[in-house]
């Protein structure tokens, strides 16, 4: 069952002549983890805002086509009606602190209060959300005393506590270290397993290759690639639109030219695939110097 349905979506911001999104049409099935990749300005964040029901309601630009999320048409419903059904985590954690509450625990409760969730239900949901993101021990700290990475995890908890059916994440790991990024992707993966639909904008392709079910590549507001991580992340078009390839994919591509990677074998998009592939070919992967000689 499609939980997100986008049909002919074209959107132009007020005061802009060029559309940020051009004739997008796709559906997302419930329980899928869909990654959106693209160069800066490709329209990824705009797509998130459209899926969250914030465009067109709050931006007043020109929109054509339809976007339906959880059965609600975004042009027919106010943003407040999507809260709870659709969650959105933005890039900058500092701007996601409401400032309305004194502790992390209370900050996470803010959305529940807005949605009228009974007080008796709140503690269980808050504690579960804080556990999920690993912030349980910091529950009584002021949100302003947390590090950037901790604030981002708190922002994620503030949305997870609402138990949305669709979770939209706009570069949620931008301020996290590798361990923090892995923790976030593990949380996302667990959510997907329980039926949550996740759309994530992410530049770190290694996580996408490992966890995503499907990848959409955007360029200048258009979907130029749509498929499995194996297909999209190894497509030559991805390099042309400025996203580039993973080092493993580049290594195998270079290996192909030198006879170290079989032409018949798909290029790897995870470290495991690369190691297995090179082992099977009986070759050692190219050195760092060789990779650096071919920076693309």
């Amino acid at each position: 069952m499609a939980v997100i349905e986008v049909a002919g979506l074209t959107y132009t911001y007020p005061g802009s002549s060029a559309p940020a999104l051009k004739d997008l049409t796709f559906q997302v099935e419930a329980g899928q983890l869909v990654a959106v990749v693209g160069a800066n300005g490709a329209g990824k964040s705009t797509l998130c805002l459209a899926l969250a029901g914030l465009i067109p309601a709050l931006f007043h630009g020109q929109m054509r086509g339809t976007v339906s999320v959880c059965g609600l048409d975004t042009s027919q419903h106010a943003p407040g009606q999507f809260a709870g059904r659709v969650g959105l985590v933005l890039q900058n954690p500092a701007n996601q602190i409401s400032g309305m509450r004194y502790t992390v625990y209370e900050e996470v409760a803010f959305g529940l209060e807005n949605l009228g969730v009974p007080r008796a239900v709140m503690p269980g949901r808050i504690e579960h959300a804080l556990d999920q993101v690993g912030l349980a021990e910091l529950h009584d700290r002021s949100p302003y005393t947390l590090s950037g990475g901790q604030q981002q995890r708190m922002a994620l908890a503030s949305i997870l506590v609402l138990e949305p059916a669709v979770l939209l994440l706009d570069e949620p790991t931008a301020m996290l270290d590798p361990a923090g990024s892995q923790a976030v992707f593990e949380i996302i993966h667990a959510l997907v397993r329980t039926g949550t639909t996740v759309v994530i904008v992410e530049h770190r392709l290694e996580w996408i290759g490992r966890y995503a079910d499907r990848v959409l590549a955007l360029a200048e507001g258009e979907v130029v690639l749509d498929g499995t991580p194996a297909d999209v992340l190894s497509s030559p078009l991805l390099r042309q639109i400025g996203v580039g390839w993973l080092r493993y994919t580049r290594a195998a591509h270079l290996g192909q030219k030198r006879g170290l990677w079989p032409d018949t074998q798909a290029l790897p998009v995870t470290l495991e695939q690369a190691v297995t592939g090179f082992q099977q070919a009986g070759a050692r992967p190219p050195t760092e110097e060789q990779l650096d000689a071919d920076p693309r």
Binding site: L49, A52, L54, L58, A78, P79, G80, Q81, F82, A83, G84, V86, G87, L88, L90, N92, A94, N95, Q96, I97, S98, G99, M100, R101, Y102, E106, A109, F110, G111, L112, E113, N114, L115, G116, V117, P118, R119, M122, I126, S142, Y144, T145, A155, S158, I159, L162
Partner: protein, 263 residues
Amino acid sequence: MIRYSLYVPGDTWLHRLHPLTKLSFSLAAAVIIFGGPGGWLAALLPGLLALLALWRAGLFRQAARTGVRLLAPVTVMLFLIHGFFSPQNQTTLLRLGPFAIGQEGVAYAGLIAVRLAAVLAGSLLLVFSTHPGELVQALTNAGVPHGLSYLLGSPLLLLPQMAGRVQVIQAAQQARGLETGGTLPRRVRALFPLVAPLVFSALLDVEERSLALEVRGFSAPGPRTSLREQPDTPGQRVARRALFVLAGLLLAAGVALRVYGRH
């Protein structure tokens, strides 16, 4: 830990009072101080009450420190301007060369300074013992539209974020050679490179901040709930009404005295 907010966490009797009770006192005090009859008495009584409350709650020292920092420059200017240049000056207190300090101007400056101090004491009583979020919640629960409550509380709510941003901008500008310390002219010169990015970046953040609030149901339809109960008592509800009635009566008396007192 850096404390950006004026709120002092605690569990004193003042902290436990309902935010609207403290807000009512602050507002009533301001009305009585500036609008009530009696000049000095109208200014002194609410101010002393506020200071007494702050002292009983163990917040007097912080309040005094903040008050002196805020009021000292204003008070000095008031005494200088009114003491030397007030048109009401008739009795000379002190002569300094060609200039004379007038008693009437000094008395008027004193009254204004006491009024400002009293209003500030009433305000500090509220902001020192009430987290801005609690105040917003209390206003919303009292029927004030949620957006309006947030707007009213936002100067206090956004203070920590602005303070953090000031530090970042200051560090960035200092790294590029801007001197922010030293003499007064140098500090004034350094102000623009600090204020301009602060204002522009705050404006740019407004959009993302409002989006973040929206996705957490800020404008969601239906009734709201709250994690923490805000205890209220019949006594406090009566006190709030009594404060507004008292302020209204004293304001009316003050206005009447000013209007009819001239005739």
